[in-house]
């Protein structure tokens, strides 16, 4: 190793300083299922108080990146910090909404039971669910427009209603960083609007929102920042600078025709 590499690079120092207190900072993350890496050597720094989308083709490692950041899957290598400390120490500040299809909605629980799960860290193993817990859970349901469904069995909900319940559970976590995996997949237009309104509300309160997103048409409308990945990181930064035809072409390869890109709002060539 030459002595030169030890001289700090000004850009690098600035980036590390930002990463030190960023809601989420990832360095050199590689995750693999079997032989193929799903995420390869990705760096990213989340901007506090912004809404960021993770965008990329199917199988690009979007969900995997999020799961690794949460400690749900174990990476091969990489360093992940949240608010300047290891994620394990910051779990109380992070809320997570998994993909709706990842759970069995036949599970014997009512809507309110699922929302109360968001207060697990408060309740602990044996803490009693008290009136103020229930009240807060109902508040969270109210914010997603599901108050009337509190006592409904979760299997009786539509896809959009299930997604709202999941969001209410995340609200019950009362976190500083919200991570949502494909929250708009298979939901109706009204639910999509309701969800985005809640997320923007969180952002306006100074909280940070990270969303795995697959609809290129709404990226510019919904998000402040975007991370483009295709196993490797293609680009990250404000949507206005990064969400360009060239970057999208690099992310999706030949899978996205030029005319499609031209029609995308905010993705001028």
């Amino acid at each position: 190793m030459s002595a030169l590499s030890l001289v700090p690079n000004a850009d690098r120092v600035a980036a590390d300083a930002a990463a030190l207190r960023a809601p989420l900072a990832i360095r050199g993350l590689t995750v693999s299922y079997g032989q193929q890496p799903a995420v390869f050597s990705v760096d990213m720094t989340l901007r506090a108080g912004a809404m960021t989308a993770i965008v990329g083709p199917n199988g690009a490692g979007k969900s995997t990146l999020m799961k690794a950041a949460l400690g749900i899957v174990t990476p091969l290598s990489g360093r992940i910090t949240a608010f300047g400390a290891p994620v394990e120490l910051q779990r109380h500040r992070i809320a997570y909404v998994p993909q709706r299809a990842s759970v069995d909605w036949d599970f014997p629980a009512r809507v309110i039971d699922v929302v109360l799960m968001g207060m697990y860290r408060d309740l602990g193993l044996l803490g009693r669910v008290r009136a103020h817990h229930r009240d807060f859970a109902r508040d969270c349901l109210d914010r997603v427009g599901m108050t009337d469904f509190a006592d409904r069995q979760i299997g009786q909900l539509s896809g959009g209603q299930q997604q709202r319940v999941f969001l209410a559970r995340a609200l019950a976590q009362n976190a500083d960083l919200y991570m949502l995996d494909e929250p708009f997949a298979g939901v109706d237009a009204a639910t999509e609007k309701a969800i985005i309104a809640v997320l923007k509300g969180l952002r306006d309160e100074g909280r940070t929102v990270l969303v795995v997103h697959h609809d290129l048409a709404t990226v510019a409308e919904y998000f402040d920042d975007v991370l483009l990945i295709a196993t490797r990181k293609v680009a990250e930064g404000p949507v206005t600078q990064v969400f360009t035809a060239d970057n999208l072409q690099a992310t999706y390869g030949g899978r996205l025709a030029t005319q499609q890109i031209d029609r995308l709002p905010g993705a001028g060539a």
């Binding site: 949460l70 394990e88 779990r91 998994p98 990842s102 014997p108 039971d113 799960m117 044996l126």
Partner: protein, 306 residues
């Protein structure tokens, strides 16, 4: 319901009911995790575990047998995982292969080893010996307060009662993380719940219940009680707590009804000897499940989506 009942039927019914509940409690979570076959697997692999423990120690002692069976259960879980990953076989098939092979191995071991001097045979393994767990020291209901008679209670009763306490404590203390990780494993992990360790603990507790119950009532009841009462209970309610409550009721009902039907049922129809209590208890639990599937308020098709 006199002195004869206390001497001959009270303890077998109690032991049957306690064993049924001890299996039904973890069975609720196994069924909801679509791991019902794990219960089946555990109850089968208990046999080779017990035989190996017997071959090593040369005696039918409880502690080595429980240890042997618990080890066998863990080996089985590891093997199932290995077959599933290395063979790229779906979990159900992997469980089927492992527990059948291990049970068969246990039968072969049992045949080859000299167990003629002790009470250990395949029939015993399947049906248990519930009818023989009688309370000879009892002379009537009064014996329940007589310390001398109480000392003569079959040791299986104390063992299964202790096991039930342990199983109930585990279920009660870890209720919340168990429910959370069963419903949404990813979310549970994001909260810092160690879902892998919890899942393994559930299997070990199930194995504990299976071993203690196996000792008293044989593997048929164990298999039935892991699955039938929880599955029937799921058709009665949409709440986890209520489901577990129903499963306990169904387990106790199966044990009592099954034992009474086995002992007295054939007589009512003018038939001679009584039939296997273990077999009848398992049958009753199956009938309860069938009734719940037809009449349960939460059966498929009974709920009108709105």
């Amino acid at each position: 319901m006199g002195a004869d009942f206390v001497t001959l039927s009270l303890t077998p019914i109690l032991i049957g009911a306690l064993a049924a509940v001890a299996c039904a409690l973890p069975g609720n979570f196994l069924v909801l995790r679509r791991q019902a076959l794990i219960g089946d697997a555990i109850s089968h692999v208990v046999l080779p575990g017990i035989v190996v423990a017997f071959l090593i120690t040369g005696a039918v002692a409880t502690l080595p047998m429980i240890l042997g069976a618990a080890c066998a259960a863990l080996v089985a879980v590891a093997l199932i995982e290995a077959v599933r990953r290395l063979g790229r076989i779906e979990p159900g098939a992997a469980m089927g292969v492992v527990f059948t092979a291990m049970f068969a191995g246990g039968v072969l071991l049992l045949e080859q080893s000299d167990t003629s001097s002790v009470h250990l045979d395949v029939e015993h393994a399947l049906y248990g010996n519930l009818e023989s767990l009688i309370w000879l020291d009892a002379s009537g209901w009064g014996s329940l307060t007589d310390p001398v008679a109480l000392a003569g209670l079959p040791p299986e009763l104390g063992r299964i009662a202790l096991t039930l306490v342990a199983v109930a404590l585990f279920t009660g203390i870890f209720w919340r993380p168990l429910a959370l990780s069963t419903f949404d494993e990813g979310f549970a992990r994001s909260l810092g719940i160690r879902t892998g360790a919890l899942g393994l603990a559930l299997v070990v507790v199930s194995a504990l219940a299976a071993v203690a119950a196996f000792d008293a009532v044989g593997s048929i009841i164990v298999i039935a009680m892991f699955i039938c009462p929880p599955a029937a209970a799921r058709l009665m309610t949409d709440r986890l707590g209520a489901q577990v409550g129903w499963s306990v009721v169904f387990a106790i009902l199966s044990a009592i009804l099954g034992y009474v039907l086995a002992g007295y049922g054939p007589g009512w129809f003018g038939l001679g000897a009584s039939v296997s209590a273990a077999g009848m208890i398992a049958t009753v639990s199956g009938v309860i499940l069938a009734l719940a599937a037809v009449f349960g308020p939460r059966r498929r098709g009974a709920i009108v989506a709105t």
